[in-house]
């Protein structure tokens, strides 16, 4: 029962709420200070739980980090909805670009991409975390690819276009744009990166 091992014991409603509170506190702290800068004691205090409660749900910081990756994957994808699930015309792609840029503007470009930041910090030191991040990025990429595939099926995108490659290229522009926007505290890089990706997609329009 792999799923039960990963999720911990089957939880009561109250248990699920407590676990969720811990994960949300951990995700917020790790977004602000990084994983290394967040101790389980910080998380315990922020979530308002006891040490024994924390360890009941998460046997180690590494388990907690995995739950944070799962949580941030859902949060990052959800923050891009409803646009992300229907990127099947240029107008939708433009609306999605505007949404991504607006989210960064709201945050003053602080924190960068929650998944990208975790990836940069954890890829070399936590192979399990790296694998979970691969899966998270794959879902993001798949959502973009699905929209482009729908455009191609409707005959709006050339048969020469490779929706999988275009989706990967778009995600590189998003990730690099978010990182440079974070460093510069300026939305220009993420907007510029997305503009390039959309211009590139436009070259395949029929």
């Amino acid at each position: 029962m792999e799923a039960v091992t990963d999720e911990g014991p089957r939880l009561t409603r109250k248990g699920r709420a407590t676990r969720q509170r811990i994960v949300e506190a951990a995700a917020q702290l790790m977004f602000e200070r990084g994983v290394a800068g967040t101790s389980t004691e910080d998380v315990r205090a922020a979530a308002g739980v006891s040490s024994s409660q924390l360890y009941h749900y998460f046997a180690s910081k590494q388990h907690l980090v995995r739950a944070v990756i799962a949580h941030q994957t859902e949060a990052v994808l959800a923050a891009q909805e409803p646009q992300l699930s229907r990127l099947d015309c240029m107008g939708a792609l433009e609306a999605w670009r505007d949404l991504v840029v607006a989210l960064q503007t709201q945050r003053g470009c602080e924190g960068g991409c929650p998944l990208g930041s975790l990836a940069a910090e954890l890829s070399e030191i936590d192979p399990d975390a790296r694998q979970e991040l691969v899966a998270g990025f794959a879902r993001w990429e798949a959502a973009i690819r699905d929209g482009l595939t729908a455009m191609q099926r409707r005959g709006e995108l050339s048969a020469r276009a490779d929706p999988g490659l275009l989706a990967l290229q778009t995600l590189t522009a998003v990730q690099g744009g978010l990182l440079l926007s974070q460093v510069r505290r300026d939305v220009d890089p993420v907007r510029a990166g997305l503009d390039m990706a959309l211009s590139h997609i436009r070259t395949f329009l029929i």
Copy 2:
């Protein structure tokens, strides 16, 4: 005398060599394990110096981190030479893309971009480091822009093209590509990102 404050005391030749050995050891460890995962004691041991020697050159870990950023900026730019300084035709841009991809292939995509990784880890927790990283990325971007500006002056790139914007867009593709290649341990993302950037530049060729 700001420069002296930043550089520490004026050094003898032997002093400069010791300082350099410390910075190189710190850069390597921080590349492998992150800044948070690298203690000054780790650096001291790897560089083969005493504590008092380390503190003679670097009053704190933060000072050492700033020296590592300066070192990695030079190293990242140097690793892209001679291509980076003459990106003034499509052939040169293609050769540069191949060099960036080859460097990642050699490393098995481990570590990602030394500057990008430092940026992701430090942007929220060290404002001085963030500013130094902004300056490092600006040099990289300027090198790309200068090549494109030369192309435009020679009449090979349309007057409609904005070399500054194209350089920023290219750097977003590089950074996002390097991050996704690091996570996936696969050169496809960085190659795909660079291919997109070069395709986008090609749309402005005359």
